[in-house]
């Protein structure tokens, strides 16, 4: 944050337009470069969440899948807070995926075993 941004915020003014331009550009270029339109991205997001939630229980409200761009490289960044691991037929795979959630999830919790 620059001094100008700080004063703008203090006075409740609109931020300087260069910042707005930069942010809008970064967003539109991330989409341009990946050739994904927002609709496709949304579909991909849903499918990713669907696949991930087969293995672990995720916080759908906090979950975020987005495109980030730096130095002409666009990355798909998924931030999916895990509530707990789902018990699977092969317990090793799910538990390995996220050690933090594995420790918080009681072993053999729930009866929704995947057949």
């Amino acid at each position: 944050m620059t001094l100008r941004d700080f004063i703008d915020k203090l006075l409740g003014r609109q931020p300087a337009s260069a910042n707005v331009a930069r942010e809008r550009l970064q967003l539109v270029l991330a989409h341009d470069r990946s050739d994904l339109n927002p609709e496709l991205l949304e579909q991909m997001r849903r499918e990713i969440l669907e696949v991930v939630s087969r293995y672990v229980e995720i916080d759908l409200d906090e979950g975020d899948v987005s495109l980030e761009t730096e130095d002409r490289v666009t990355a798909l960044v998924a931030n999916l807070p895990i509530k707990r691991a789902r018990p699977l037929a092969e317990p090793g795979t799910a538990a390995d995926a996220d050690p933090a959630s594995a420790s918080s999830a009681p072993a053999g919790d729930g009866a929704i075993a995947t057949a």
């Binding site: 620059t2 337009s17 260069a18 550009l25 539109v28 270029l29």
Partner: protein, 272 residues
């Protein structure tokens, strides 16, 4: 495809009206004045304007199309600049023969120019369609020119992606129509905003300068008569950097010594 030792430099932007042709004309004259045998190839044959900016519009008889068809020699089609004999213009074609040129034709013309010139500047048409594909076929390296506006930067990004996929290397950036006051007030994308977003090395900065319009009115590029205007200096520096000389770049927002410039610097200082 191309003669050894000759540099083939594409000047492109994606968006129209950001200053491609003005840069080509001024850079061509500046290089010629520095002793480089320079050809400027107007690849925009649908809407050609390079002849007008160079003041050569009344001297065009043939184009690259007639050369390729064998109906004239290259020397007959080349238009030498009277005051700057190191510079010659070759229009790729005329608007009436739109479907005629193909990427291979541009490569053949480029190879022919390579026998006589050290640097061939190719003025690319706006857009990313056939005209661009023709022009890029003849190029080895590129200068992307843009202005600090969202639409121009977005289109430049598109073009850079295409240049990369064509294997054009190196690609350098010229930022045109810079307004230092607006940049200092953070009402215009800064130089680093644009270079960070496009991730290209900066070859030059050209300030917004009324003299550019005056010079196009006359058909005499600013670099021709040694005027001291900011844009003329910028174009000359771009020519020198292109030839490998180290010429420092000025940060437009740090150039001023007045109270306004100082305040601007204070306001853009990162506090946290």
């Amino acid at each position: 495809m191309t003669a050894p030792g000759t540099r083939y430099i594409l000047i492109c932007s994606g968006k129209g009206g950001v200053g491609k042709t003005t840069l080509t004309a001024n850079l061509g004259i500046a290089l010629a004045r520095q002793g480089v045998r320079t050809a400027v190839l107007d690849a925009d044959f649908g809407l050609r304007n390079l002849d007008l900016l160079l003041g050569l519009e009344n001297r065009i008889v043939f184009t690259a199309q007639e050369v390729l068809a064998g109906s004239c020699r290259l020397e007959q089609a080349l238009v030498k600049h009277k005051q700057e004999p190191n510079l010659a213009l070759l229009p790729a074609g005329n608007p009436r023969m739109l479907e005629w040129l193909k990427p291979e034709d541009m490569q053949r013309i480029a190879a022919m120019l390579g026998e006589q010139f050290d640097i061939v500047l190719i003025d690319c048409p706006a857009g990313i369609e056939d005209g661009f594909k023709n022009a890029v076929a003849a190029a080895q390296e590129a200068i992307v020119i843009t202005t600090p506006e969202v639409s121009a930067v977005r289109d430049a990004d598109r073009v850079i992606g295409l240049l990369n996929s064509h294997g054009v290397q190196p690609i350098q950036l010229v930022l045109n129509r810079v307004r230092p006051k607006m940049m200092a007030n953070q009402e215009m994308l800064s130089v680093s905003d644009v270079t960070d977003i496009l991730a290209l090395p900066l070859l030059g900065l050209v300030m917004e300068d009324e003299q550019v319009i005056v010079s196009t009115n006359r058909g005499e590029p600013l670099t021709l008569n040694g005027t001291k205007s900011p844009a003329a200096l910028a174009y000359n520096n771009i020519a020198r950097r292109l030839r490998g000389e180290e010429v420092p770049l000025l940060d437009p927002t740090k150039a001023g010594r007045g109270l306004r410039a100082k305040l601007g610097r204070l306001m853009t200082t990162k506090i946290f």
